[in-house]
Assembly symmetry: C2
Homo-oligomer: 234 residues x 2
């Protein structure tokens, strides 16, 4: 799908991030596909998925556009979202409609800045839509200059140099939207429908929601935390 058609399809819509990890209580065979089917059932416009196998399975099961990532953790390195060309190759092979990667200012697996991989991808796959996961306005501006088609606020609060917010970083969304009208994907800590709508009102192309929809243990924890706070103060 070309980028304009993709943008048209995603505009104002919900993308559901469907991920589980070893050790999580909801983890298990076929769970991410079930999550994606839930998203499809609810008329979401797309899926964000981790690992080539899951991208492939989800594409086959629901047929929605998929933002593929591959979390590859390497000791001593903070960059883990699609950090290498090997990871990109596998995500393309699996059928990702968009590949997202860490495009922060941090040092990646190969000793270069994470965002430098964008140029390599654009050279190898000129037509592949790229989503740059960033944590600050400057990183967003930089990633766009390096050729990213979409700028995602995914990593706000998850790098040492970015602002920690309890909810979505609306200021970051707003500032990026002032520059790149139709390239901003709001992602990160969007916990309720009202917050998603706020991101769209600020100009975001679309929103990615993960935990609040697909990670029941984290949602339950938010309920328990607030109830405990009430017990202490109430």
């Amino acid at each position: 799908m070309n980028i304009d058609a993709l943008k048209q399809q995603l505009k104002g819509k919900l993308i559901v991030s469907c991920q589980t990890f070893e050790g999580e209580p909801i983890h298990g065979e076929g769970i991410v596909v079930k999550m994606a089917q839930c998203a499809k059932w609810a008329d979401a416009a797309g899926i964000r998925a981790n690992e080539p196998k899951n991208v492939k399975d989800i594409k086959a099961a629901v047929g929605l556009p998929v933002i593929g990532i591959w979390k590859v953790v390497q000791p001593g390195c903070d960059v883990y979202i699609t950090p290498t060309m090997d990871a990109v190759d596998a995500l393309v092979e699996a059928g990702s409609d968009i590949v997202a990667l860490d495009a922060t200012d941090r040092i990646s697996h190969d000793g270069r800045k994470a965002y430098e991989l964008i140029a390599d991808i654009k050279k190898k796959y000129p037509d592949l839509p790229i989503m740059a996961d960033i944590s600050t306005v400057d990183e967003g501006i930089n990633a766009e200059a390096w050729g990213a088609d979409f700028i995602g606020t995914t990593l706000s609060g998850y790098t040492k140099h970015s602002v920690k917010t309890d909810g979505p970083n609306f200021e970051l969304v707003e500032k990026l939207c002032e520059r790149f009208a139709d390239k901003v994907i709001a992602e990160g800590k969007i916990n309720c429908p009202q917050e998603a709508v706020r991101c769209i009102q600020l100009g975001a192309l679309c929103v990615v929601v993960g935990g609040a929809i697909t990670r029941p243990h984290l949602t339950a924890q938010r309920f328990v935390s607030l109830l405990k706070e009430e017990e202490k103060n109430g």
Copy 2:
């Protein structure tokens, strides 16, 4: 466990309703147990579960107190939450710590009013804690008079004669709490932690949250609905 100990354990806490049904995208072998494990992980105080087999599996997996129900649908009858003594027997056998049933003013499988089953249960199982799922203040008062230990607002908005609310029926919670200080379990349409806390502030013993935690398709739908509304009006 006796009722006072149970109340102590549940006071101010979260109970997670872990249910899936044939045809739902999240349905599948072992899913309700995974949901219960998510609740346990998050430090929830109890589980509400449907069907004896699930009660048993969940008790074995997480060891938390379980409110057992058995949804038995019969054509032409609106009452389906634990409508018969057979259902109660099976839930007791499965290890339910509390058995919940429809205690509304409606006609049940046997032609009697739904709440009349409370007296039969109390006779057969004098020590079994009973939760009466009701839809109005009058039904709550009545169910308590018939011997229910807990009054749940579960069915508010789901009977023809009760008020339809978008969120939790706070007024019902409040009015019941004025009468039965430590017997009210707030359940139904509690979609965010703030709503759960509000119920506790109104005097509820504890809260049951289901869909907002364990039904990703419904949560995704709430996001999609509000985004569509924004698209239409924005």
